[in-house]
Subunit: 277 residues, 4 copies
């Protein structure tokens, strides 16, 4: 997502660089502190949801919640004033997450239960991905997402097949087992089919008739073996992506001849030494 820079001079420009860029020391520190604060604030919410901790340490957690709310409010205001077109930020995905993660604390003054919505703040953890993008692991994450992107058509075909299987088997089990065995409706049957095909197998709904168990065995074996398909798709795509990447890096710096084998030490055309990987 490209975000326009404000006028080059003034304090707003400086803040903009710190908040939105990560190539200055100040920008890096800002990102690191932000990640720490996000993780701590998420932890606060997680701990507060535990009844025992809420009863005993409720006050401390309340203070922490207010502290993080104020910090994030400040961050939100700074993001707003430092950018040239604030509306673009406000209606971006992260802009919405950012405002939703601070509002509930304030709303709790006026509406009972608004507190509950604070859980939305957990979504802020996604910002860690954005920040990480700027620092390390870029290359590896890109390899993975590229491979997933390249295999999206195959994955789509696969999932379309899976959904058809789920609907047909779910309906079949509803007919075979019926409400008296826990398959009270077709959606229930489909839910059971998901639980079974993915090999999760809670056991809250399970077939009891002979025919039902035979069909269930069929869907289990199907689920067990077709897991090979997404794995195969992704593995083959990733191998290819890694290969392509490596091919790129085996280019002669002198004459630009590409496609040297991994074992090659010198360029096969001009004889210059290749950079060893």
């Amino acid at each position: 997502m490209y975000i326009e820079t404000p006028s080059k001079k003034g304090w707003r420009s400086k803040i903009f660089k710190i908040i939105y860029h990560a190539d200055t020391p100040a920008g890096k520190w800002f990102d690191i502190i932000l990640i720490v604060f996000i993780i701590l604030s998420v932890l606060t919410i997680i701990l507060d949801s535990v009844n025992d901790l809420h009863l005993n340490y409720g006050d401390i957690l309340k203070i922490a919640e207010w502290f993080f709310t104020l910090v994030f409010t400040l961050e939100y205001i700074l993001r707003l004033v430092s950018i040239r077109r604030p509306m673009k930020y406000v209606f971006s995905f992260f802009g919405i997450v950012d405002i939703l993660s601070i509002l509930p604390t304030y709303l709790a003054y006026f509406f009972v239960g608004a507190q509950q919505l604070l859980v939305i703040r957990i979504l802020r953890i996604l910002r860690v991905f954005r920040v990480l993008k700027l620092v390390q692991y870029t290359h590896q994450a890109q390899l993975l997402t590229n491979s997933i992107k390249n295999s999206r058509h195959k994955i789509f075909v696969f999932f379309f097949f899976i959904f058809t299987v789920l609907i047909i088997f779910g309906s079949l089990m509803y007919l075979i087992e019926g409400p008296e065995n826990g398959f009270t409706s077709i959606p229930h049957g489909i839910y059971w089919a998901v639980v079974t095909l993915t090999t999760v197998g809670y056991g809250d709904i399970a077939p009891h008739t002979v025919l039902g168990r035979m069909v269930a065995s069929l869907i289990m074996l199907t689920g067990y073996s077709i897991i090979a398909v997404p794995t195969g798709i992704f593995t083959s795509e990733l191998s290819r992506e890694v290969q392509r990447n490596r091919d790129k890096s085996r280019v002669c710096k002198t004459c630009n001849l590409a496609g040297h084998t991994q074992a090659a030490v010198f360029c096969r055309r001009c004889g210059e030494a290749l950079n060893v990987e």
Copy 2:
């Protein structure tokens, strides 16, 4: 499946083109509308199976059911009259699914319970596959099905092995655990073996004796590790298929020499530039 065209002139020929072909705008629209109708009709059946919805919205769902039945009846008649050899369609897989998906609504007038059979209509969702075949994703789906076809012999050997393991372990557990622990017969034992080997693990039948648990651990570890086999088979086959496909596309347009490496920019025989992928 090759379906013969009717005489080239007249309205029947026009309808035939719309229904059975997809290369005209009208044919494409027919396919899209058909898919929408099939999905909506399947949704109607799924929702109607939920007791609450059946009680509250039963009338609307009934009307929807009749609407789709009439539309599909019309489609069936058009398919019948527009094709030159109707019997070939009637007794094809989709012909049977099509008639079975409209009959129950009519039969419900004469027989109580015929309504139940309407669930068969869900099978019509398979027609979406046929339609998709004509449009997009053809290539990707073909890659996948080719890979599965090529690995069918290996998969067969694998499943034969699995079945033998299931029968032997199922019988063994019947002997070890016996009816008092839920293993009331060998088929029950085999069902348990399927549930365990595929790592579904409902927990409705579980070993209780020490020996039984040791054998169960063995079958679990077997199931956990031999999942590598179908995955390996499919992955290796898919990689090869993708490779073969790519090799084909690296053919020199000038001299038809195939088999250029991915890094090649010029044909290694005639020196013409290759199309970059």
Copy 3:
């Protein structure tokens, strides 16, 4: 397993060829009939273990059992008399399975309960593998077993690691959860660890303490991700095996030059046409 032939002449030689070889029409028919009989006899035992069927069709199943016992006894005697060194057959794996699969029916006359041991006959299904070996699917099965053989050292290292993980986590959970939560002993803990690591998850034993659930989460994520290891080992080995196999088949028939690429049509040395795969 190499089995010596008897003297070339006489009826024993003929029977030997039919029973032990599969390259004559009679030998092939013998194998096919044997497989059918084995599968039917296994089916008889499986059905007889179901209480309802035993009560209603016990007599028919009893007759079938006696029929198969007599047929298999005849087969055993023929195998014995037609081979030159009968003792080698008697003490081979299949020789022992063969005698154990007929004895229980006879023993049931003298000892109550000997009938139970008839389940051993199910092991005869393994003979189907031997027979299949002689006919079809040889090549594919060999590819798979070769790949498994080649990866056995890596698989061994993997399983050694798994066992260590199971013992350490099983003991840990015994300490953390204790007998009051179902972890009554370390073997129980190890059994639970197997059920969890393999992602079977019966739910008959499950952690209840906070620490126990954290450790359980760790072992689940471990099990979920290290399944990549056997899959990776087998896939890489199978790809290599398939590749090696294909390389062999791309040899020029004229000058014996090997290693032609898949896209090559003519030998790159002598120019003769290569056999297309």
Copy 4:
């Protein structure tokens, strides 16, 4: 881990060689006996944790425990006196495991319950890995660990993604299902998400509301398909590692040219015969 040798002469030097090296016959025997003793002592602890065995064979197991404690004490003293810088060993990982595995037996004289800590001795099984390292399987284990090391960045990105998914889905289910359906807190929800995403599926906590089951289906399908990611990462890395390894072994002994194809029989530069793998 490099451990310094003591002065070359004297009995301490001899003991050092036996204990810390494995290239002499005595050193090999020491390692084998140590592994046997460790496995037997671990077995003693496992068996002693079973109530029935503790009550009936408690005395024998007690004697075995003391025997192993004394043997391991002797081993610990020998390790201590034979090495030049004992403190380095004492504070190494194995040094700590070694002392912790003998202390509890002695402490049980003074403190009630110290006996319980004996389970720590199970960790000594890890020493088997160290010993194995010196003998066989080195190469295979190294291939595996190298592949894991090389893919650690990708695996890290994957696990970071998994943790985010777990936290978000765990919180979501806590909001949707609430304490009345077993989701008493967010950590509980996250635990359930781990159990579900890894396809373990105990069934002790399971969704009951319609929305909850839809979200659960989503997380199941996610878990079912993203298992492809670590598998793909590891498989592609292992294939590459194996390939690289093989490339190394295809080096011409005469002119040192590397990178011959598998099919090559003669060096492509100097024409000398290559060693066939």
